[in-house]
Symmetry: C2
Subunit: 353 residues, 2 copies
Amino acid sequence: MTLETLAQRAQRRRFLKPFAGQTAWPPPMWLMRQAGRYLPEYRETRATAGSFLNLCYAPELAAEVTLQPIRRYGFDASILFSDILVVPDALGQEVRFVEGEGPRLDPIEDAGGVSRLKPEATGEKFSIVAETVSRLRRDLPDETALIGFCGAPWTVATYMVGGRGSPDQAAARLMAYRDPETFQRLIDILVETSVDYLSRQVEAGADALQIFDSWAGSLADNQFARWVVAPTRVMIARLKEKYPEIPILGFPRGADQLSALFAAETGVDGISCNTAMPLRAMVELAEGTGRVVQGNLDPLLLVAGGKQLDDRVDEILTAMKGKKFIFNLGHGILQFTPPENVTRLVERVRSSE
Amino acid sequence: MTLETLAQRAQRRRFLKPFAGQTAWPPPMWLMRQAGRYLPEYRETRATAGSFLNLCYAPELAAEVTLQPIRRYGFDASILFSDILVVPDALGQEVRFVEGEGPRLDPIEDAGGVSRLKPEATGEKFSIVAETVSRLRRDLPDETALIGFCGAPWTVATYMVGGRGSPDQAAARLMAYRDPETFQRLIDILVETSVDYLSRQVEAGADALQIFDSWAGSLADNQFARWVVAPTRVMIARLKEKYPEIPILGFPRGADQLSALFAAETGVDGISCNTAMPLRAMVELAEGTGRVVQGNLDPLLLVAGGKQLDDRVDEILTAMKGKKFIFNLGHGILQFTPPENVTRLVERVRSSE
């Protein structure tokens, strides 16, 4: 682990500047899911890996795909190539990725299912991921920050209980209503396990962390407080105690209206905003909370390209000028994105004055 | 058409009171999709109808299923049983409902597809729906308001271009980026056609209208302004010119953060809020805009039932007490809702002091 302060690291890695209160314009930029299927070099490496989880657990290959978009585009930050379902897999739940359909898990249906999870057994798989992080820190350009990540307990729980992704997360939300004690036990296990997982990533060289809460947007306010805000607050408190110099971004996707509350109550250093977050609200969020704001170009505009892409990029940059801001997408980059549109985007952001 | 003023109708139909500025507590209530598969009597009628669209186009059967929840629960408002895809069907696009999978349409892919729509041919099917409305107004208890509805142009267009429902509406959003002129032509046709469709419903006896924009929540702010706000504003202006005494509710689902803007710029009389809208924000919306606010119990809580249902109902009622408020769900009632939980809900709301 580095003994440098955040301010010192930010001198070398401009991604960290907004977190250190240092001016950075053009804004630092990276793209969610920047290592992915839209890149031919990713598809080539992916084809050699066997299953998707194999790729996540093969440090050499996982590091390689993480580095690919950095070589191509020179983003200011790199994000560990992995998946939020590594945590349930490490806990002993069966996780499979079905080509073209997404993840499938043997769903947890009751207290018995929660009891069968093995938090004590997660070390082996987590240490493989930590090895990827170590390799990355060794192989990345010194000026490139390295972001570690995990899924937020709520979002990971929706997959563990539902057995798959779903637009309304009905299975998890129903368990949370019908049997809140059992659901709380599941969340508590995920909090513990995820703190351990992220700690190992920091120890191995991660500069910053992002907690992805992709399904935070479907919850009523009282459920949001209990299942999103409360567990995230505990995680951040525990991580900050050990690693006060490591910035943490939250991404409560779809809950943009509650972002200011989320920021105030969880203690995150930065908030990632999805596409539907109005620019005016992003400005207010940055000014009102003092937190770093990240976002929020529509990934579909990166598929469409052209003048509309340029115009929207300019709108975002104009709105966020002078704020603590990181340029990103509002969600992960899409498979059918032409790589040359990403080049166009990078040039546009980099030439912002 | 009635020559009564809104204030006069509100004397007899308490659903209308908040729109007429009259005090109403306990609040008027109805539930989105209250005529539906959770009711055994619905399933029975549905089984005799053949296809789902047949049911929509059979005035006697459509009126019957509309009346069923009124008989059972005595809601303050009835909503015409129909579907938002009646409009593309009437325009000549092929629409099928696949059991267990949802709607399938032959997608519109380009300007040619838009040109093949037949706005001039919609009258026949619209007049069948109007006949259902006439029957309903005759058969409903006098104290029950009758809500007519349609899908908002944006949401209907997402189905017409995508060929089905999708969580991200990528096809329509991409057409809107790549070929905004063609997409605008489609939206314009939907505005015209929907105004005609709603006008016929009013002429046949609808007391109020709701415009469902189920997929409004995925759009960046500039796209929301163009494809949600602008067409809705035109529709409402045209309807208000003809029917100033007919209240219009908007439901820009998932765009709750933009509800105040939506209210100010479209001229709607009321706004329906989805489950994720925080109660505090609903209160602010009611106070800030002066509009009627409707919502927003989680439909899953109505599946779960029990004390958690009671507690949340009480929270909503306490928050909205004294506001212009209509009790409803945050989204449509779910198929597996036990009908006795609806009884419990109705009793709880009705006993609110």
